[in-house]
Amino acid sequence: MADTVRSGARAAAAGRFELSRLLRVREAGVFIALVVICLFLTFATDAFLTSLNLLNIGRQVSLLGIMAVGMTFVLISGEVDLSVGSTYAFSGLVTGMLIIAGCGLLPALAVGLFAGAVIGVINGILSTYGRLPSLIATLGMLSIVRGAALILTNGQPVTVNARNGALPDVLETFSFMGQGYLFSVIPMQLVFFAIIAVLAWLVLSYSNFGFRVYAVGGSAKAARVSGISVNTVKIWAFVLMGLLAAFAGILSLAFLPSGQAGRTGLGLELDVIAATIVGGASLSGGEGTILGTILGVLIIGVMRNGLVLMGVSPFVQELMIGLVIIIAVGIDKWTTRRAT
């Protein structure tokens, strides 16, 4: 047993030394894939490599990216969250309704975010103390939260504008969050994504909490005997996810500026998980980085954008995205053999 493990590792080290050194930086593979796609699109289309288009891509991927950052924490901790699309809809709609009702911006945001956090706590408790697999617990929450949103809005669209009762100054700031530009150039959504990504990167790579998230997902047993409270760490990962899904949902409503419980964020959880997985996070826990997730989000964003620019039909786009997910994750699995 030991001999095979050793000889396998030795063979791998000898045969693919250069390659494995390159791949040791886990994000390298995803990065190369992104560069290749970008190069291709640069030559295949005129519009791709323009600052306008690139910023546009940045805006388009921001909401997905914000959620994928949260999903990175959840996946590394060894769990998964399917309820994020519903949380996205619910929190956005709650915040929108409060604003229409004449509520101030900060209270409206706070309630929306709080709702996301509560959903996260419930997901976390069900998946840890409740001993349900998170796949099941959050699948249930996906329906519950979506149902709650439908009940709350009675299925009617929520549109945030002055005519519906939003206070003018509240509306102005709210719209700026979703539609505005920093220095008239950088979309605010992208600014939020960037800030969140940097903070998350710092937390995951340099904080004791980030260390615990990796430990809990890498081996719950090792974490437990070291004195790390596995359940607490996982619940916090779900709370973070809930907060970020809520925030993305709020930004979405600020951008559009309307939403409907039956449509908003439907199926979004799969895009979020796909982007995170493409970025190198493992469904079995312990692996993943914020940088990788950003690259995964960009690959999906650039693909969608490029396919539109090339005039590919939306039906074919969907198919291509699916191929990218399989190929990107496949390359990672086929080229790196890990001794575990």
Binding site: G218, V225, G227, G286, A339
Partner: protein, 505 residues
């Protein structure tokens, strides 16, 4: 029971008892572990070593008796608890995080003790980890390497380094060198000696008597859930240890074995194995005659557990395996079945039976083709066959549709045996045929096996339970380090003889 704690004992166990349903795993054991000694604990399978280790690790709670650390009674309610008392158990299944680096693993407890809202002191972690590794003579190991890339030996040392870092005063090593090469074992021994010199108590659980004699200051022998004797390792021999381990009244078992008549030599071998090699097996050759029960014994890492899989073709193998002169090529269990071999694996709940399916489905599951017509299962035929097998094996079930998983272990095993018999095998290979089964069911299974052997089937019984081999086998082959180390027949089959061949080098 009321022994005053000796000041020299860092851990003292007084009258500890642990009951499992249907068995007494530990029966009022008492033993003291002194500060700064290497104390080996040896005993046969089921002697209670693992239970004792699990209690020390905080994974199991005793039902009675006392556990004292530094003369004070303690309750070890969790692994964390026992680490807090300075006791670390290094299991074969290591508690490491393969996706994280060596430094991160060694420093995990340190980090857990800090606030979650604080910066991770990466440089300090690396430095401290390197220090801990250097103390173990492992300074060359890069603290940034992912643990998943290390060899088993290196992983063990990483875990020990973590324990030392946590100021472990008692280090329990559970079969530490069963996965190690000779050189790695020597390195481990150096580490053990060095730790002893630093005052750490090492509890060393092992089957390898030679190594025990090399490394231990004292040896405690366990048998049947009791501590039999604690000996100073001065002038001890492997023979003495084996005698202490066996020590049980063998008359009853011998009676059984005497009743079995050795068969005439000239009868043709049904199963012939020549120069079999596989993971953990080297150059094993033997043959089994029709109507013979051949026992295979040996320690857990002797290769006996690989033998069943290798014979049946569940793992890659080299060498020649023939049934009635027809060669079984490659790792192909289906071919093995076609040529008349049937296998009952040790892991009844995992790979043995279909626990979620009915008794009837299980009985026919290895011979579905015979019970199918144009792709549909002939329910009537299945029922008839299942009923016949249940009656023949005297399995106690409520009805044929009962799920296998709801039966007792003994009845499950009977049904799985029935599944093998339905395929009309020439050769039946059994791996731990009565593991976890109560005594009554064991006896019934033995008599079934003797019955089917009497009908001319060749049976290979691979077992860790020596009395089982003695009672049933006409011939016992003993494996050690992947090779045959002895063959015993008739009256020469006894516990001392088997253990001696299994344990001594």
């Amino acid at each position: 029971m009321t022994a005053a704690p000796s000041l020299a004992n860092i851990v003292e166990i007084a009258g500890l008892t642990k009951r499992f349903p249907g068995m007494l795993a530990l029966d009022r054991i008492s033993v003291g572990f002194r500060a700064g000694e290497v104390h080996a604990v040896i005993g046969e399978n089921g002697a209670g070593k693992s239970t004792l280790m699990n209690i020390l690790a905080g994974d199991l709670r005793p039902d009675g008796g006392k556990l004292l650390v530094d003369g004070r009674e303690v309750k070890l309610a969790s692994p964390l608890d026992s680490r807090a008392h300075g006791i670390t158990v290094v299991y074969q299944e290591l508690a490491l995080c393969p996706t994280m680096s060596v430094a991160e693993n060694i420093m995990m407890s340190d980090m857990a003790a800090r606030s979650a809202v604080s910066l991770l002191p990466r440089d300090m972690m690396r430095r401290e980890a390197r220090d801990a590794l250097t103390r173990l003579g492992m300074g060359g190991l890069d603290p940034d390497t992912k643990v998943g890339r290390l060899s088993v030996a290196e992983m063990q040392l990483v875990e020990i380094a973590g324990a030392i870092r946590q100021k472990a005063r008692v280090l329990v090593l559970d079969e530490p060198n069963s996965a190690l090469s000779k050189r790695e074992s020597e390195r481990l021994f150096e580490v053990v000696r060095q730790l002893r010199a630093e005052g750490v108590t090492i509890i060393y659980v092992s089957h390898h008597l030679r190594e025990v004699l090399d490394i231990a200051d004292r040896v405690t022998v366990m048998r049947d859930g009791r501590t039999i004797v604690t000996l100073d390792n001065e002038g001890l021999s492997e023979d003495q240890l084996i005698r202490a381990m066996v020590g049980r009244d063998l008359d009853a078992a011998l009676q059984w074995s005497l009743q079995v008549e050795p068969r005439p030599e000239d009868e043709d071998a049904v199963l012939k194995v020549e120069n079999l090699e596989a993971e953990g097996l080297e150059d094993v050759s033997f043959s089994v005659r029709a109507g013979e029960i051949l026992g295979i014994g040996g320690l857990p890492d002797s290769g006996k557990d690989a033998l069943g899989d290798a014979l049946f073709g569940l793992c890659a193998r080299r060498g020649k395996v023939t049934i009635d002169g027809k060669e079984l090529r490659g790792a192909d269990p289906l071919a093995a079945i076609r040529l008349g071999m049937s296998f009952v694996p040790a892991d009844r709940r995992g790979s043995g039976g279909l626990l979620q399916m009915s008794v009837a489905d299980n009985v026919v599951s290895a011979s579905l083709a015979r019970f199918s017509l144009a792709g549909f299962v002939r329910r009537g035929a299945v029922k008839r066959e299942a009923r016949a097998q249940v009656a023949r094996l005297d399995a106690r079930i409520s009805h044929l549709g009962q799920k296998l998983g709801t039966l007792s272990g003994g009845n499950q095993q009977k049904i799985i045996l029935g599944r093998s018999l339905v395929t009309n095998p020439r050769v039946l290979v059994l791996h731990e045929p009565t593991r976890g089964i109560d005594v009554g069911a064991k006896a019934e299974i033995y008599s079934i096996l003797r019955g089917i052997a009497g009908e001319g089937m060749a049976i290979v019984m691979i077992s860790s339970e020596i009395p089982e081999l003695i009672m049933n086998a006409e011939r016992v082959l003993v494996l050690r380090d992947g090779r045959l180390s002895g063959e015993l027949t008739g009256q020469a089959i006894n516990e001392t003889a088997i253990l001696a061949r299994a344990m001594t080098s």
